[in-house]
């Protein structure tokens, strides 16, 4: 859950930065039509928010599973006694 929210937040910022960078490189026009520019920004933010949210959730879940496996395996093994 936390991984998905963090990833979505990062994805929103990533999308906004990416669309602004595309505009800087001359492939989009944000100069005159403010509504058009905001539509582009919102679309990029939402799309990358969803993508990064899914990625973040998957990564966090995998890390949690690894963590739980590592902790359970180490705590379940008794120390060797000569």
């Amino acid at each position: 859950m936390a991984g998905g929210a963090s990833g979505a937040g990062s994805g929103v910022v990533f999308g906004i930065a990416l669309v602004l960078l595309i505009q800087q490189f001359g492939y989009l026009d944000f100069s005159s039509n403010l509504v058009n520019a905001l539509v582009y920004i919102i679309i990029f933010a939402v799309v990358f928010g969803i993508i990064f949210g899914v990625i973040g959730r998957a990564l966090k879940g995998r890390a949690m599973r690894k963590f739980e496996a590592a902790t359970s395996s180490s705590s379940g093994t008794p120390p060797s006694v000569p």
Partner: protein, 251 residues
């Protein structure tokens, strides 16, 4: 505070800051007519505008933007002809560079020459050459004491050398940071487990090879009525290094 919570808080703050900046842009902008409503040419006169020697008439779409840069001064030559019989006096020529519907750079020249029908406006936006690049709309305007007589918009594609602008650098760093933030979600530090209890040593046996002599040599006897030579700390450390009591159960 955990790493995930910190990164999430940072992401929220960044999003909030971005929207605050956008809101600032929107609220601080003066009401500007969208391009579709901007008249290509007003009635009182017809004009020809040359931007750095290029007629702006055929550059009113993004695809036909005039390629330029801000590395030096540029000129905009206005030539006009009144459409009516009465003479018209043009007192100001101006160009405005728009971004998000807001004029972010303006260059204007005021003059008062009766009967004149041309003016060359020299502009210098070199202070912006390391700030931004991209496709922008420029509106060229001729006016008479605030009354717009002619207005025409056209597009320019401002190119920076090697795309080296402050906004590009900041945006690329932001992209890298966000990718790193997401990648960091998949890394979780597994705390090192405490070392397993050492195997118990027999209570009566030879000391292990290489053991320090203090482990086997009993501390010197304290003199009667006085403190031990090493002080209380050495006394306690001697008790810690005793090998007669195993740290954890053993047989």
């Amino acid at each position: 505070m955990t790493v995930a919570r910190r990164s999430r808080r940072f992401a929220y703050l960044t999003v909030a800051a971005t929207f605050v900046l956008l809101a600032f842009f929107v609220l601080s902008s003066s009401p500007v007519l969208p391009p579709a409503l901007r008249p290509a040419s007003s009635g009182p006169l017809t004009a020809t505008v040359l931007f750095d020697g290029v007629n702006i008439v055929n550059h009113d779409t993004v695809g036909s933007a005039i390629v330029t840069n801000f590395s030096g001064a540029f000129s905009t030559a206005f030539t006009w002809t009144p459409t009516g019989s009465g003479g018209l006096t043009v007192t100001q020529a101006e160009i405005q560079l728009f971004f998000f519907g807001t004029a972010i750079a303006t260059s204007s020249g005021q003059f008062l020459k009766f009967g004149a029908n041309s003016y060359t406006l020299s502009s210098d936006f070199t202070q912006n050459r390391y700030i931004y690049e991209g496709v922008y709309e420029i509106v060229a305007t001729l006016s008479n004491n605030g009354t717009t007589l002619y207005s025409q918009g056209f597009y320019v594609w401002i190119q920076a050398t090697d795309h080296l602008t402050i906004i590009n650098i900041v945006l690329i760093l932001l992209l890298i940071l966000e990718v790193y933030e997401v990648a960091a979600l998949g890394r979780m530090k597994i705390p090192k487990q405490p070392a397993a209890a050492p195997p118990s040593t027999p209570t009566t046996g030879a000391p292990p090879a290489g053991a320090p002599p203090s482990a086997t040599t009993p501390p010197p006897a304290a003199p009667q009525g006085g403190a031990p030579p090493g002080g209380p700390s050495s006394d306690s450390s001697a008790g810690d290094t005793s090998d007669t009591t195993p740290p954890s159960g053993g047989t």
